[in-house]
């Protein structure tokens, strides 16, 4: 599947995107580690981690685009899968602290000692192992998405109703993770990480490696998503988006196809969350807040849904704008600006930045706006 599309289907835009990511993966860490700090090309560690964070968001956006842009499932709960992946990574990082915590307990994380717990809850078992934790990064969000989707898609919940229950899902998790007795650190979440795979998470080289890894995973996520949407399954999924019941009458079990993309997408969001946590140094319940999931939808809408590259672009552009905006005197108005942006894009650029740019580009090259829609066009 992947090889076939690598040979024939990959577009110029995709190649540019992948090339850019590959270049970033190599050049940014090098510019951070090797160039002297006074060089114009030097990338400060904080900037690198900030961009690492944007790229995690880009992966989350691609995962959402897969379900929303291609399958028409407007998930307003994708932040939950992201956060669950993040917690799985956070649990691994907590276990790596060992006896270096404030209380010096070799097994229990500080917050458990503080709560007077005496043993590790069963669901923390195994998280001292990196491979196990990475497996959980995929399995936990994937399983939740599978179970949730199994019920929702079988009972043919669609449209606004589905969006609302995804929103309820992330809200329920927000409330649950806030509770101390859940065993995930309550509202403080998990933080004060020390090592990842034996390397200091704060060290410049580790951060450079995390950045490069984020680029690599974004490339991998993009290729998987592209492989899916370019396959025949991808065509079925678009058919479901545009004429769900027609697809059923062709004999496709719509619920299973939705379940497949929804689950894959949740796993992808989980990976994004797992990469995010060591780079920002904390995971807490606010990552489950419904507003986060809604913001993700805005990134995808701004970038251009149903294009994958556009989703990633939207995530980076909006988050870069957010950083600029919220670091100045206009900080209190960010949410208004975001809302206004969303309204503007919905009204005037329904295809988002990328879709609009592509239309404009296509028209310039053809110089014949949409004439092919009218009567028999020559075979291409």
């Amino acid at each position: 599947m992947i090889t076939r599309f690598l040979i024939q289907g990959i577009g110029r835009l995709d190649l540019t995107f992948l090339g850019l990511l590959a270049a970033l993966a190599v050049l940014v860490p090098l510019a951070n580690l090797l160039l002297p700090e006074n060089s114009v090309l030097h990338v400060p560690t904080s900037t690198m981690s900030l961009w690492g964070k944007y790229l995690c968001y880009a992966l989350l956006a691609i995962s959402l685009d897969l379900v929303w842009g291609y399958c028409g499932i407007l998930s307003l709960g994708h932040g939950a899968f992201f956060a669950l992946g993040g917690y799985a990574m956070g649990m691994y990082l907590m276990r790596q602290i060992g006896s270096r915590g404030v209380y010096g307990n070799p097994v229990l994380p500080d917050f458990m000692v503080f709560l007077n717990w005496h043993e590790l809850p069963w669901y923390w078992y195994g998280f001292s192992s990196f491979p196990f934790a990475m497996l959980m990064v995929l399995v936990v969000p994937g399983l939740l998405a599978f179970v949730f989707g199994w019920f929702a898609f079988r009972s043919r919940v669609t449209g606004v109703y589905l969006s609302i229950i995804t929103q309820a899902l992330t809200y329920a998790l927000l409330l649950a993770f806030f509770r101390n007795d859940m065993g995930f650190g309550g509202n403080n979440g998990l933080t004060d990480f020390k090592d990842i795979l034996g390397f200091n998470v704060q060290a410049q080289a580790t951060r450079a490696a995390l950045f490069a890894m984020t680029c690599v995973m974004l490339i991998a996520g993009f290729l998987i998503a592209r492989g899916i949407v370019d396959s025949k399954l991808g065509k079925v999924v678009i058919a479901i988006r545009d004429a769900e019941s027609r697809t059923r009458f062709l004999g496709y079990r719509v619920d299973r196809f939705k379940l497949f993309v929804f689950t894959v997408s949740a796993c992808m969001a989980g990976v994004a969350g797992a990469l995010y946590v060591p780079q920002v140094g904390i995971i807490n319940p606010s990552e489950f807040s419904p507003a986060n999931s809604i913001e993700t939808v805005i990134w995808v809408a701004v970038g251009g849904r149903g294009t994958l590259v556009g989703a990633a672009l939207g995530a980076v552009v909006v988050n870069y704008a957010k950083t600029v905006f919220t670091s100045g005197f206009m900080a209190p108005y960010w949410l208004f600006a975001l809302g206004a942006l969303f309204v503007f894009v919905t009204l005037f650029m329904p295809k988002g930045i990328l879709g609009t740019a592509q239309d404009w580009w296509g028209r310039r090259r053809k110089r014949e706006p949409a004439a092919s829609l009218a009567e028999p066009a020559p075979a291409e």
């Binding site: 599947m1 065509k235 545009d242 004429a243 019941s245 059923r248 004999g251 496709y252 719509v254």
Partner: protein, 253 residues
């Protein structure tokens, strides 16, 4: 009308005493209909007679309140969902042509092409040479070969009708339900559609719903007249159009 047991076992499609109501309104009341393997049947009837609703029942979109709906003499269609019924070999063309607007014409055919419909098979699908040949043949039959890479959404109403017929061909079902194939077509196109359907009927069973009497005459097959959700008359077109009740229903509407 209670067909004998032998009628059931020798039938391809068997409806008996089927009723369905929407919010108290009985759209189908005691409908009985038997289609033999290989048969082509035309169904006529005034607007609201229940023709489309009958197709909805056969294809699993609507569950009947009562009655029997059997396929191939043994499969109870009222227990199956749309996908299962489609995979049994019942294909449908909708009254309002429904194609996948954002797919190319070729991809519309590909999606309909008879194949395993599982997630894994579609994910790893490779269009084999025989599949491509079949797609090309169908595109030729429905005269959309030159337009294959255009988006289906850009087609005219009549072309969409043909594309949907092409999708039916690709599905290669045992029974085709064709709802108003000639609607929105010019006389020339209508005549061509009749020829195409007769061609298809050579090796498929077909139920055609149509208002265009010229078209029905062209098909030259047994006609069933539906009225208020039940069969009013059945027989050759000349015979049913001479039927007093039928004339009354058509003039009285």
């Amino acid at each position: 009308m209670i067909p004998a047991h032998a009628t059931l076992t020798s039938s391809l499609l068997y409806l008996d005493g089927v009723s369905v109501s929407f919010d108290g309104f009985k759209a189908i009341r005691g409908l009985s209909l038997v289609i033999a393997p290989g048969e082509m049947r035309a169904i006529i009837g005034p607007n609201g007679a229940g023709k489309t609703t009958m197709m909805d029942i056969i294809t699993g979109k609507t569950r009947p309140d009562e009655g029997t709906v059997m396929f191939g003499g043994s499969v109870d269609l009222t227990r199956l969902d749309e996908a299962a019924i489609a995979n049994l070999g019942i294909g449908r063309k909708f009254q309002k042509p429904t194609v996948f607007d954002f797919h190319t014409i070729e991809d519309n055919i590909l999606l309909a092409l008879k194949s395993q419909r599982t997630v894994a098979r579609t994910l790893f699908w490779k269009t084999a040479a025989t599949d491509q040949k079949r797609i090309d043949d169908i595109l030729g039959i429905i005269k959309l070969g030159d337009a294959r890479s255009r988006l289906a959404g850009s087609l005219s109403h009549g072309q969409k009708q043909w594309l949907e017929i092409g999708m039916l061909l690709a599905q290669d079902p045992k029974l085709l339900l064709v709802d108003e194939p000639a609607a929105g077509m010019t006389d020339g196109e209508t005549a061509e559609t009749a020829v195409l359907l007769k061609e298809i009927a050579r090796d498929h069973s077909v139920i055609v719903v149509e208002h265009d009497m010229g078209f029905i005459r062209e098909l030259g097959v047994k006609v069933t007249v539906l009225h208020e959700g039940a069969v009013l008359a059945e027989g050759p077109l000349d015979q049913v159009s001479a039927n007093e009740r039928v004339v009354e229903v058509y003039l009285g509407r």
